[in-house]
Assembly symmetry: none
Homo-oligomer: 236 residues x 4
DNA sequence: CATGAATGAGCTTTCATTCAT
DNA sequence: CATGAATGAAAGCTCATTCAT
């Protein structure tokens, strides 16, 4: 079986682009289209501003200006600052979920498939830095916004499921030990990549060296892969 | 050689308590003592408020009231909100460094020593949650405050050094492979523990389960230990 | 040719009244009219407060209260305290320019026309004391506000031009010497009137006598007229 | 009679230097001398700061720092901000009076003597720009500080007296008309020079040309001299 | 639908001044 | 005498939000 490319072209998940209208939707009138465009540009701007300055540091005014719109429009479409932030989080999760679901793996090659998952997440974090800062801001607020979201539940990581198949396949084939759950491996991968990137500024100051050079990034990628493979007991 | 306790009593690093006056110092006058107390209570309050609400979310007013002092005093002692935050970060690093330096290990027992390091950091993060949120806030600001600190350089993690000895000792004894650096192992430990705790709110929502039950915490501790030991190639 | 009255009724330049809407403008909605009224009342109040207490001595709060409006509105309409002050200066210049342009002179009677110019400026300074204090405040700040104004250049004293015609006419008729420029005569008139009024408080203390009695004012007016006429070489 | 130099070397009135201890005073102790030095440096700094930023724009903190002293010392020596400003004004008047009293004229040559008075004042304003801005600030406050000064009365312009002698001498000799008072001529000289320098920033913006070039300054000096001489009816 | 205008509470910071040793 | 510490009011300005067309 040919080893299919692990994931679609990277460009796909790069820019935060709100959802296209659902396929079954009717053609929209010009006004509705314009309204959607306004909403989208606000959501886009809010993502950028909240990612950069956090929830408290980002201001409505800053966002409406960045969206070339007006304060009032934010309240029109999102009700409040909190409502806007919730929408930003939902959109962020949706895009992440979409990206994960585009991850195509060959479970017949569990070792390489596992490597692909790691590379995917490591790459996603790097290409979507707002993903990290938005999550950090939300955790600073103890998850109070996401817990208000009705849609949050819809996004259950497809990657964990895929990972389960990979691990099971590996165990069946005797390349992996069978005693680790997909959830834990997923957390391990996330932790190693996320922490490194999220904390790179204070770590640089603390360790006295840059973590952002291409060499340093490549080194950490192979470190992560090695650590995860050893954890699942990969025999090589 | 007997396996000495890995670290001093946990209580030592729990509350943010500014440094005691140097041993050689003269006795202070009443007023000087009161002044120090004011400064300390502001620092203490600021640590709490910034840790809870972030840099932007925490207000000068909130801090001065929590310290039972006045806005003006913050500027008297720290110059600005930024200056206060820098002082908070410095104090946080100092306490972390102190705690790390109190970590006593028996390098003759590298396996157990490594376990102790992991447990120490895992424990420190749990007992000092402000450590995590302050660092996250600072990373949101791309490290701009800590890079202004002149004292930041003084705090170079003693734990990394100790870890190096442990790894070397283990390698000499043939219990560890010798191909991993102390820095990388340190980062790995930090990543696994920090990420789990820092992101527990959004992870809970995403995974649909609590990560904070005693069982979950204990499970993750043993997961981390196993992952790290496997990474360094511990033969057991 | 009959000697027409030198200027329109004095009341015209007394109160700082913002420009009426341009003739071609559409009728304004109620809200737009109210908005203009708000802006105007702020500008009016600011003129009064800055004139009375200077730029630094006048507070935003004082102004917004005097305008029966809110602090926020000042920033809404003028952006900043500096922006408001610039608007005040521009408005002051515009009104002064308007008043100067209403000055109608009979150049066929150069001597009387020159006297009219002097009386006009002397009268303007007295009727518009804010003109003097605003200019003094701006000069204390070394002209930094007016130099930021884009509109400042639009106000080139019409009086200097008129004065030039008067002097030329007088020279042609042999009543004036032809060796003084309009600019210098303008400065001389301004200096004599402005300084006397601007510095009347310290001069009173220094000279030990009041300069503000009607007799004193009338005396200085004729002194100025005599001095200027002699300077331009008026033969009488 | 030889034309003696009209005034002492210019340097004499350049720097604001507080009064030396009165001639009859006892020798001072070291402490008293140090105290005086502190007081002087505060007065010096206050003169500079108030001259630059006005009464309201200058802050106690700014002054105490410029004087390399402490806020508290200002209250110790001058009681309040107002008290300090009054002292600054008194010192300014004293220095101006001193400079005027050093003005030595040959009344036998009234024409040249009058020219000397004009040049002296024109020069004094230029060498002591703080003189102008301090007076403007005080006039903005309607002279309320100087009217509180007990010492203000002591400073009655010697120049007016001298000018009276010059004018009388000129009248006796038939070079001047005898119908102008010394006070009015004094005011005229002051007005022409003071206004030109005080308002140079707004005038530059209004007239669209610099008034501060050496050529412009020289031109205005001769303009003033000519205007004053004509006013007193000098026959040449 | 969209948008200028309005609102009052809150922000960080500086003010002149006084206390206590 | 001198000086660090303290004080509360007020400064200029921004905040998220709502009103009224």
């Amino acid at each position: 079986m040919p080893a299919r490319p692990a994931r679609r072209p990277a460009a796909a998940d790069r820019t935060p682009r709100p959802a296209a209208p659902p396929a079954g939707a009717r053609a929209l009138g010009v006004r509705q289209r314009a309204a959607l465009a306004t909403r989208d540009s606000i959501l886009r701007a809010a993502t950028k501003v909240f990612a950069r300055h956090g929830y408290d540091g980002g201001s409505i005014d800053q966002i409406s200006k960045a969206a070339r719109s007006y304060d009032r429009m934010i309240y029109y479409y999102f009700g409040s600052k909190q409502g806007l932030f919730i929408a930003v989080l939902e959109d962020m999760y949706r895009r992440f979920n979409d990206a994960e679901s585009r991850l195509v793996l060959d479970t017949a090659q569990p070792l390489e498939a596992l490597r692909s998952v790691i590379r995917f997440m490591w790459g996603y974090y790097q290409r979507n830095p707002e993903f990290i800062t938005l999550l950090n801001t939300e955790n600073l607020h103890r998850g109070k916004h996401i817990s208000k979201s009705l849609r949050a539940r819809e996004y259950s990581s497809p990657a964990v499921g895929v990972l389960g198949q990979v691990l099971a396949s590996g165990a069946r084939r005797g390349v992996f030990r069978g005693d680790v759950t997909a959830r834990d491996v997923y957390l391990m991968i996330a932790a190693l990549g996320y922490f490194y990137l999220s904390n790179r500024f204070t770590l640089s100051a603390f360790l006295g060296e840059s973590l952002e050079t291409p060499a340093a990034l490549a080194h950490w990628e192979s470190f992560m892969i090695d650590a995860v493979l050893r954890k699942v007991g990969a025999t090589r």
